[in-house]
Symmetry: D2
Subunit: 305 residues, 4 copies
């Protein structure tokens, strides 16, 4: 029952991979933000399958329709409902899977939880669920742009295409990682003790399917470092609050579970997931910025006037 | 402003390291749970400083006082307020720090955020804040015991005492790690897509001071594995929902920031933080179990009757 | 930014009166509940304009489309997105209103808040917003039916048709009231101290446009009664918790603001709002029932097993 | 499990009437607000029993102790824990009540819900619970003062002392009402559609023990008015958003349930509840003001810089 993300900038997502549509409702987008359906194109393309040789051949245009909250190209301050139709439903591909649980998939756990599942595909557990995250992330990034904050991601370490082709040939899959950088965020953003900026970023990224590890700043390496070496290079978030420096995170993905079988599947997660990591990081940062406006009495007086 | 953790089993903490007291309010503890001030002793002792040779010599008994919510040894269903007094306040140790920002500490970021800070110590950023987490964790673990679920932690990899002594002698500090195991949780617990059990566990553990990396199941290693190898050993949480197997997590801590100076400080975080990781994991699991009671119509009818 | 209602059974609504569509996402509907688009027909018809002689002639079929969360007629446990298209958009009716604030309407306050508004109509402040509430309420009532709890409403006191016709003739409008009864709810439902069942019911009903007063049990009359008379008849909710008796509420609506002008408007609110009151009450009751499953340790053990 | 109020300015209360202490944790108080234990004296005195001839003779000084969140008289931005000890516990007065349910009290419903209760008094259902609300309200009102917003209440209609004495003599009790005025709030505050300022005020006031009806603006009277008369006088909140005019509310209380018996009880609720209504209204207004800071992109940019 946890399909809403955020407290001040709230995103509620919906949609099964083989249902009619995916979508989300963004509640808390400030009025006055310019917003156009075309804004979503670039990020949706980055997430889209079928673009690289190691990605699922499932092809969807993934055009984002704005159902509400925008009037004459400008956000009204009311909830923005975004819809992406599922054009490429081929349930017959999955008919054979009705009565079996695919190893490593969420089929079994969904069935255990709900006593029912949409066997046509992963349902909500499908990577397609991230369409809605990416759409919401576009809005978050547009807000951040106006505050001179940027969030960017890339596959890291870079892929060895030769090895990857080898793995595809063997119908196997491979783990992967994404690095995320948040640049330009001013010092003072974060909500200790349970809403530390670091923790919320890590938790948000960990909510992306397939993540098995998340690091911030020096990451796991810090566990074997000495303070004298670590102190000077531990930047970005201190005590859960931004320090004005670049914030660096890394997300580690498992190899996709679908191997050795037909269907439309990726051999590796990171290339398409990078934009999803970016979206989640942007959602967290916007939420935390909005939360910070009542940090001080001076700030409250200034914001209210 | 984020000092409340959880949605169904809610913990609100308070207290600065050099103020009068630390404490928490636990809202949502089921009525009928037996609860005694002595229940807290063992875990508070595990968290207490001054017990090992690499820990801060600050000594506090950390007795937990129950202010409300318990009547004749039994939880009433009303909020349980727990109080731990700060007996060992020695602000004079910190007087010199009034106008300087300690490197690697949250002094600077707190000042940047609030324009004010309790310079007597870390305030809310102090490790002492975790007293309240541990106290709440005791209640969560008592509930889990009745459901035959256990949460345990240990320092891993184990410490090399010789090297650690060497580091203490040099007034330096060292990074460290804690492993956590959740045993006995039935399949079907977790709240996709933003409240995945894995993500909430990782985010909760990441909210502990000094955490720079969190892993679940095969962790970061998964990022370099092939699906054919990873699938069979990826257990505990699938699609954000428990599968009935043991859940394994690992938290990685930076080396403590306080080095080369006087005062009462730890040379390493993990030994005292293990019980905090345990507490946070227990809080998450209880919260998720309670959330699961309305997963199915059958469950709703059974629970309501 | 508060377009989500509920904590355990969560409804997020969206849509402006003259935009593409109204809708909602219901998060937390138990898996296994049977659900069909036809289930919504009766209640949507009760809310629909143009059915009585004192209602707005705006006619819309208000068919509810299920976009997600239901598979082969059964709820999956995933978010249920419901969509109702706005077919009858006639913005030209409102063109004259672009630069004026209609007296008694939310035009001015929306403009003051957001610096922008959808001048084509009330936007989110329009009564059409309640389409989504009613749709969500249908699901809540289906759940309650399985628990033998019913929620019903009617206009009370009843309307004097002759007087009402007189008011319509004068292009004026009239205030009105709706009575709500919740029958069959067992004792023990409610979440003191801030989530009392009475308070949440009253607050939820007060969130319907045009409500200026809400009463429970003996209501305002209680303020002039003596305890010896009031005690025996004060039933339904005591201390914020249900007592197993019938719960009675009354909502009081202002006269519609649109008077003396053209356009499509109601002369009275209650006849169409009754089903909205019913929906809000049902949402609250379901939310509170789900919250009650972890009230006692015995209940927790029983629900978990 | 709902002992936390507010989303941005959050108050968590605890304490049973005959336990050790009452208290609350205020999370989200802006840093820099001056705060002293003496600030609470006046409002605690207004709430205190034993001050008038129609009030319970239970006497407590109700001194508020600040446990955390304030350093050298200034709020740190961290959670502020407030404690009020229960000095005047006389459980023997209530011993006879162990096995009986007092008519009109919450004894029965608490027992039905939790299977256990603190029979020494009302526990959380006691009017003493409001001590914590009043304490938190003091902080909220100090914030509002800096924004030139005031919240005030008085008993209305005024009491007829002669009749009241007559009722006390007969060991009976009487219903009563409190009027609340919010003055100086600028236009644009409120969070449609589920967090309308009107609805949140009404719901918050309805959460005070004994409330059976709540009105805003013209209140119930509006239900019998014509639009032509009502429109011009319907001020304060339109469409759930403040319009810059005075906001008027009225709360209607039942007669106290305790009649015809010994013990320490009030014959009427309003005189002591007025300050509680004031507190709840102030909490809502502060919460809504903080929520409004991200209403517009211009506001976001201004607040962030």
């Amino acid at each position: 029952m946890s399909n809403t993300f955020g407290k001040f900038f709230r995103v509620t997502t919906f949609g099964e991979s083989h249902g009619k549509a995916m979508g989300c409702v963004v509640d808390g987008c400030p009025a006055g933000l310019a917003l156009d359906p075309l804004d979503f194109g670039a990020d949706m393309a980055r997430r889209r399958p079928g673009q690289g040789k190691f990605s699922s051949p499932r092809k969807e245009m993934d055009e984002v329709e704005i159902l509400s909250g925008v009037f004459e190209g400008v956000a009204l301050g009311t909830p923005i409902a975004l819809l992406v139709h599922n054009h490429d439903q081929k349930p017959q591909d999955y008919a054979a899977l009705k009565d079996i649980f695919r190893p490593g998939h969420a089929d079994f756990t969904h069935q255990a939880k709900y006593g029912i599942r949409d066997h046509r595909g992963g349902g909500r557990a499908s990577g397609r669920e991230t369409v809605a995250r990416v759409a919401a992330g576009v809005i978050a990034k547009k807000i951040l742009t106006q505050l001179d904050v940027s969030v960017s991601t890339h596959v890291y370490p870079p892929l060895d295409e030769e090895m990857l082709q080898h793995i595809v040939n063997e119908k196997d899959s491979l783990g992967s990682s994404v690095k995320c950088e948040i640049i330009g965020l001013k010092a003072g953003i974060g909500q200790p003790v349970f809403g530390k900026l670091s923790a919320d970023l890590m938790g948000a990224i960990a909510s992306i399917g397939g993540v098995r590890g998340v690091e911030i700043s020096q990451g796991i390496k810090a566990a074997t470092m000495r303070g004298s070496h670590h102190n000077p290079i531990d930047k970005g978030v201190l005590g859960g609050i931004s320090d004005g420096e670049i914030i660096t995170l890394q997300a580690h993905f498992k190899p996709p579970s679908s191997i050795g079988i037909g269907g439309r599947h990726d051999a590796i997660i990171a290339p398409r997931a990078a934009v999803v990591v970016e979206a989640m990081a942007a959602l967290v940062v916007v939420d935390h910025i909005f939360a910070s406006f009542s940090d001080t009495m001076d700030g409250v007086v200034r914001s209210y006037k």
